[in-house]
């Protein structure tokens, strides 16, 4: 490793530059488009230097788009709110239900525990529509179609298995002796769980919660099938926006930027947990 030749260093540099350009360019370009008017966007060749405008964002935030043909209503902020609400609530519910369950799976080998865990794991990889298509018919009968409760319920299918598997791995790594020692000291099961197990598994819970949030936010097919316009998150909303508004490319770019910013910011802020969660989720299950 020490005696790398100059040529090799240059080649490595070029390769890395190409990698960075390929993976960063789309984000950068859409970001730039979101500050341009439709006139500058449509100019050929594409402009690198332009006068930035905030008009696209104002139109999205106020929900009113002034065009030559009149005012157009945009419901995009509603989608953004739906995304925030659905993801946060789903992850909160998942953590509340999933962390104790993960603890039970890790600490108490009871009859059927491996079967439940195994079923969850093998269905983690089952096609989403296999479950979703019958669910749409059931939801219509139950009156759950296009409700937040129905969506949060279905989002558990994404969040709960993820949290169970990652957090279970963390609980299993805590030596049981520490907990026994605390229990012998006269503390209840619940106190042991709260004072010993939870703090020690903290990083794992954070990683699992973060991943679950990102998966919930980025989910597309669940809401596409089960929600209509007023309950749709940004992933579905942005697609509908493209088809309805046609040529408002500046606003579409701004909408995409607003939609991807939360997950990107979270990922950059907590990348250590994220990498750990991803690697654990893969290697440990």
């Amino acid at each position: 490793m020490e005696h790398t030749s100059l040529l090799e260093r240059i080649l490595r540099g070029i390769a890395l530059t190409l990698v960075v350009i390929f993976f960063m360019f789309p984000i950068l370009w859409i970001f730039m488009m979101s500050f341009q008017t439709n006139e500058t966007i449509l100019r050929i060749p594409p402009q690198l230097i332009f006068e930035p405008t905030l008009a696209n964002y104002t139109a999205l935030i106020t929900g009113k788009l002034m065009t030559a043909a009149g005012t157009l209503d945009i419901a995009f902020m509603r989608n953004l709110w739906n995304s925030v609400f659905l993801s946060v609530t789903s992850v909160a519910v998942s953590l509340l239900l999933g962390v104790p369950a993960a603890y039970a799976f890790a600490r108490h080998k009871f009859r059927g525990s491996e079967d439940i865990a195994f079923t969850l794991l093998s269905f983690k990889f089952a096609p989403a529509l296999l479950v979703l298509l019958p669910l749409t018919l059931y939801f219509q009968k139950l009156g759950l179609a296009n409700t937040y409760i129905g969506l949060i319920w279905v989002y558990q299918l994404i969040c709960l298995p993820l949290i169970l598997w990652i957090v279970r791995g963390y609980f299993e790594d805590i030596p049981a002796d520490i907990e026994y020692a605390y229990r012998i000291g006269g503390h209840s099961w619940f106190a042991t769980f709260r004072k010993i197990a939870l703090p020690l598994a903290g990083p794992g819970i954070a990683a699992a919660g973060l991943l679950a949030f990102i998966f919930a936010w980025n989910n597309f097919v669940f809401a596409l099938v089960l929600a209509s316009a007023d309950k749709q998150p940004v992933t579905v909303g942005a697609l509908a926006f493209i088809t309805s508004s046609g040529i408002q490319y500046g606003q579409i770019s701004a909408a995409i930027v607003l939609s991807i910013t939360p997950t990107l910011a979270l990922a950059l802020y907590a990348q250590r947990y994220l990498v750990e969660g991803l690697s654990l989720g893969a290697v440990k299950g």
Binding site: V19, F23, L42, S122, L133, S188, W189, F190, V283
Partner: protein, 307 residues
């Protein structure tokens, strides 16, 4: 607060809870299992029925007809072909690219760590939104990629709207989104390898290609296998990118399993055929995930044994 709760739980609960508690705690997981299994079994039933939402009165069991008709249905064979082609191409390319990038970033340095964090960004972008971003960039009117293609002589490169390049375009988006996933796993693997074999090889002056193929690659195999199977299971079920980009079109160029099932359900309201398609896809993923789980259990045991 804790003291109060523990005081309350201590005298009464402990003996009973020891047996009942695990069941109570894992109840949500059990409920999710049931919540998955009921629709799943419903799908199995649907797949053996002649069931169209537009003709509810004609609903009846036709047993294997939905499946048998697949044998002579060119649309089904197209679905199978496109799905396998998509999954195969994306996984192989992402694996090669991901491994190459991981090797480039292997050495711990500020710049390398910074780049590997930046590369997380595509992975964190919702695949459906990533498809929209690429759709804007490949727009024939103003798309920057269409412009760049015209600069290198591809005057009329139609990206996702031409049957001949549609697969290429969605594969490209998939590579953009998911290569970082493989890169992260392999980078974690590379950085956790023991250093002694490499130091010994360096002392003996072993050629670097030999080190790579005989030491690095074999030691990295568990990571490569895991990453591959993860991606394979995901990729053969791809829906978001393809649906957001072309809705399975142009024509039926990109009607992979889930897209075809979605269109069958919501456009032709043919629930029976849609369910049968999903069952076949499920059988494929079940087969693949069994391989994965076996491999994963073996890996876990080996990790335990070494620890």
């Amino acid at each position: 607060m804790t003291a109060v709760v523990s005081q309350r739980l201590k005298p009464s609960g402990f003996r009973i809870s020891k047996r009942v508690l695990p069941y109570v705690l894992s109840l949500p997981a059990l409920l999710v299992c049931i919540g998955i299994l009921i629709p799943f079994l419903t799908s199995v039933v649907y797949s053996f029925q002649r069931y169209r939402l537009s003709q509810p009165w004609a609903r009846q069991f036709n047993w294997g007809d939905n499946y048998i008709s697949f044998f002579t249905d060119p649309k089904f064979w197209n679905t199978l072909k496109v799905s396998l082609l998509y999954a195969g191409t994306t996984v192989v390319l992402e694996l090669l690219l991901g491994l190459a990038i991981a090797l480039l970033l292997q050495k711990r340095s500020t710049l390398n760590n910074f780049i590997s964090i930046m590369l997380l960004m595509p992975l964190m972008t919702a695949p459906a939104l990533a498809a929209l971003m690429w759709k804007l960039m490949t727009n024939p009117g103003f798309g920057v990629l269409s412009y760049l293609a015209s600069l290198i002589g591809l005057q009329d490169f139609r990206w996702a709207s031409s049957p001949s390049t549609a697969l290429f375009t969605v594969v490209l988006v998939d590579i953009w989104v998911y290569t970082p996933f493989i890169m992260i796993l392999l980078l974690a693997g590379l950085r956790s390898l023991p250093t002694q074999p490499f130091e010994a090889a360096a002392l003996d002056g072993v050629p670097r290609s030999f080190v790579f193929f005989r030491i690095t690659l074999p030691m990295l195999t568990p990571y490569i296998l895991t990453a591959t199977l993860f991606r394979l299971l995901d990729s053969i079920q791809q829906f978001d990118i393809i649906y957001a980009m072309t809705q399975g079109g142009p024509g039926d160029t990109l009607t992979v399993f889930q897209v075809e099932a979605y269109l069958n359900f919501f456009q032709s309201t043919n629930v029976g055929r849609s369910a049968a398609l999903m069952i076949i896809l499920w059988a494929i993923t079940y087969f693949l995930s069994n391989i994965f789980i076996k491999n994963w259990l073996r890996l876990r045991e080996r990790a335990r044994g070494q620890a």
